[in-house]
C-alpha cells in the first residue's frame, strides 16, 4: 500500500468521512430530542445495510476493525467505572435485588427463545439480551434528569454494577459455548474460563493499585498509549485463552485503580465514543432491515414484558431502601432501557454456528424499542406512580 493519497485511499477517506459526519448528525439529532444516540446508529446501519444507500465497500475493512475496538473500549470503560470497593459495596447492599433482576429479566428472553424453537444456546443469548440494562443510557439519563442526587439512585446504580459483574461471568461462558465444542470439552473450557476470570479479579483487587502505579504518568500521551496498548494486548490474549476479548478489556478496566484510573477514563472516553458508535453502526449493517419485520412482534412483546419486570425489580430494590412510591417508580422505569451490552451479546454471537439467524434482528429491534421507550417512560414516572398508587404520591 502506498502512503500517498492515491485514488483508492481518497475514496476510503471520503466514505469514512461521510460515515462519521452522518453519525455526528444523528448524535446531534438525538441530543435535540434528549435520547440516546445508540438506536439512531443502529437504524443508520440497518438502512445502509439493506442497500438503500450506496454500501460501504471501500471502508468495510476499517469499519470491521473499528467495531471490534469499539467493543473492547466499551467494556474497558465499563470496568474503569467502578473501583473494587464500589463493586464489593454494591454486591453487599444490592445482592438480593441483583438476583431478582437476573431471575426476572433473563427468564423472559430465555423462555421466548425456547418457545420459538431456538437452541438452548440461542435462547440463553436472548436471555442475556433482555437481562442487561444499558448502564451507558441510564447513567446519562440520571444525569440529564437531575436524579443523581436522588435517594433511589444508589439502588439503580447498585443493580447496574451487579449486572456488569454478572457480565464478567456470562460473557466468557457464552463465548466458550459459541465455539460449538461438544458438551464435555465445553464444560472444561467454561470452568477454565471462569477460573481465569476469577483469578484475574482477585489479583486485580489485591494488586491493582501497585500495577496501576506503573501505569501512572504525568504525561497524558504516555498514559493513553500504554492503556490502549494493554487493553488490546489483553483482549488478544483473552481470545487465545478462549475468553472473549471484551471480557479481557473489562478486567483490565477493573484492575486499573487510583489516579491512573481517573485519568485513563477521561482520556479513553473520546476514543470510546468514536469506536463504539462505529460498532453500533456495524451491528446494524450486518442486519437486513427486511429480516426485522418478522421479529418485530416478538421483540415488542419481550419489550413490554421485560419493561414490567425491570420496573418490578427497581420498585422492590428502592422499597428495600425505604423509598416512597414515586422514587420506586423512578428507579424501576430508569432500568427499562437496554443498549450497548445487549448489542455486544448479540454481536458476539453473530455468524456463529448453532445460533439462530433471528437472534441479531430480534436483539436489534428489542434494543431499538427499549432504548427509545425506556427513557421516555421514566420521564413520566412521577405521574405514573401517582396514578398507580393514588393518594400516596408523596
Amino acid at each position: 500500500m502506498s502512503l500517498g493519497a492515491g485514488p483508492a485511499p481518497a475514496g476510503t477517506l471520503v466514505e469514512l468521512g461521510a460515515v462519521f459526519l452522518g453519525l455526528g448528525i444523528l448524535a446531534r439529532l438525538a441530543r435535540r430530542v434528549a435520547l440516546s444516540p445508540i438506536p439512531l446508529y443502529l437504524l443508520a446501519g440497518l438502512v445502509i445495510g439493506s442497500g438503500r444507500v450506496p454500501s460501504l465497500r471501500l471502508s468495510e475493512e476499517f469499519i470491521t476493525t473499528a467495531a471490534e475496538l469499539g467493543v473492547l473500549l466499551l467494556l474497558f470503560a465499563l470496568g474503569l467505572e467502578y473501583s473494587g470497593d464500589e463493586l464489593s459495596g454494591a454486591l453487599r447492599s444490592q445482592f438480593p435485588a441483583g438476583l431478582l433482576d437476573a431471575a426476572c429479566n433473563f427468564t423472559p428472553g430465555f423462555v421466548a427463545g425456547l418457545a420459538l424453537g431456538w437452541s438452548a444456546l440461542s435462547a440463553a443469548l436472548l436471555g442475556g439480551v433482555t437481562y442487561i440494562s444499558s448502564s451507558g443510557v441510564i447513567s446519562k439519563l440520571l444525569t440529564d434528569l437531575g436524579r443523581l442526587g436522588n435517594r433511589e439512585t444508589p439502588s439503580v446504580l447498585g443493580i447496574l454494577v451487579i449486572e456488569d459483574l454478572a457480565m464478567a461471568v456470562y460473557l466468557p461462558v457464552v463465548s466458550v459455548l459459541l465455539l460449538g465444542e461438544d458438551m464435555e470439552d465445553a464444560g472444561l473450557a467454561v470452568l477454565l474460563a471462569l477460573g481465569a476470570v476469577t483469578a484475574f479479579l482477585v489479583l486485580a483487587l489485591r494488586y491493582g493499585e501497585r500495577v496501576s502505579e506503573l501505569f501512572h504518568s504525568r504525561s497524558d500521551e504516555v498514559l493513553l498509549l500504554m492503556t490502549v496498548g494493554v487493553v488490546l494486548l489483553v483482549g488478544g490474549v483473552a481470545i487465545r485463552l478462549q475468553v472473549s476479548a471484551a471480557i479481557g478489556a473489562f478486567l483490565v478496566g477493573i484492575g486499573l485503580s487510583g489516579p491512573a484510573r481517573d485519568r485513563a477514563a477521561e482520556l479513553v472516553e473520546p476514543l470510546r465514543t468514536l469506536f463504539a458508535a462505529t460498532f453500533f453502526l456495524f451491528f446494524g449493517l450486518q442486519i437486513d432491515a427486511a429480516d426485522l419485520v418478522p421479529v418485530v412482534g416478538v421483540a415488542a412483546a419481550l419489550g413490554v414484558v421485560t419493561a414490567v419486570t425491570k420496573v418490578g425489580v427497581g420498585w422492590w430494590a428502592a422499597a428495600r431502601s425505604g423509598i416512597s412510591t414515586r422514587g420506586r417508580m423512578r428507579a424501576g422505569t430508569a432500568l427499562i432501557a437496554r443498549g450497548e451490552f445487549s448489542i455486544v451479546i448479540a454481536g458476539l454471537a453473530a455468524g456463529a454456528a448453532g445460533v439462530h439467524p433471528d437472534l441479531g434482528p430480534t436483539a436489534a429491534a428489542y434494543v431499538l424499542l427499549t432504548a427509545v421507550v425506556g427513557p421516555v417512560v421514566t420521564r413520566f414516572a412521577d405521574p405514573l406512580a401517582d396514578r398507580l398508587v393514588p393518594g400516596r404520591g408523596a
Partner: protein, 161 residues
C-alpha cells in the same frame, strides 16, 4: 452538628446528606473527579432533588466561605470592639540598644511606658509571659500590649534607654 449520612454512588462518587433542624433535606454529591453538586431535596417528595447546582472547585470554596465566614466575621467584629484603643506591637531589640543585658524590672518597662510585655521571641524560642527578672538580649523581639503612645515610649526606651 446534624448527623450526616454518607452513601456511595458506584461510578459517580459519594453523596452526603442531612436533615436540617427545620426539616429540609440537604446534600452534597462529591463526584469522582472532585466536582461537587449541591442538592436540595423536594419537600413533598423527600426522595427527589428539587434543585441540583453544579459547583466547580472554586464555586465550592466560595460557597463554603459564605456559609462559614458569616461566623468568623461576626466573631472578629465582636473582638475588635472589645480591644478598641488597644495596640499590639512587635519591637526588636537592636544590638546597639542600651536595654541589652538588662531585666524588664531594671528597665521599669511597665512603669515608664504602661506597656505589658506578653512575650519575648528569641530565635525560634518563645518566652511567654516573661517575669520582671527576664533579661533582654540583642535580637530579641518584644511582643507588647498597651496604648499607641505607650508603644512609642517603649520604642524610645529601647533606642536610647
Amino acid at each position: 452538628m446534624s448527623e450526616v449520612r454518607e452513601t456511595p454512588l458506584p461510578g459517580v462518587g459519594i453523596r452526603y446528606d442531612f436533615v436540617t433542624r427545620s426539616g429540609a433535606r440537604l446534600g452534597v454529591l462529591v463526584h469522582h473527579g472532585g466536582r461537587r453538586s449541591l442538592l436540595v431535596y423536594s419537600v413533598e417528595d423527600p426522595d427527589a432533588c428539587r434543585v441540583t447546582v453544579e459547583l466547580d472547585g472554586e464555586d465550592a470554596l466560595t460557597l463554603a466561605e459564605l456559609l462559614g465566614a458569616a461566623h468568623i466575621g461576626q466573631a472578629l467584629a465582636a473582638m475588635q470592639q472589645e480591644v478598641q484603643g488597644l495596640a499590639i506591637d512587635w519591637l526588636t531589640v537592636a544590638p546597639s540598644s542600651p536595654a541589652v543585658g538588662h531585666s524588664l524590672a531594671e528597665l521599669a518597662v511597665h512603669t515608664r511606658t504602661g506597656v505589658s510585655v506578653v512575650a519575648v521571641l528569641r530565635g525560634t524560642e518563645t518566652i511567654p509571659a516573661p517575669g520582671a527578672e527576664a533579661r533582654l538580649q540583642a535580637g530579641d523581639t518584644i511582643v507588647g500590649v498597651g496604648t499607641a503612645e505607650g508603644m512609642q515610649r517603649l520604642y524610645a526606651l529601647l533606642e536610647s534607654g
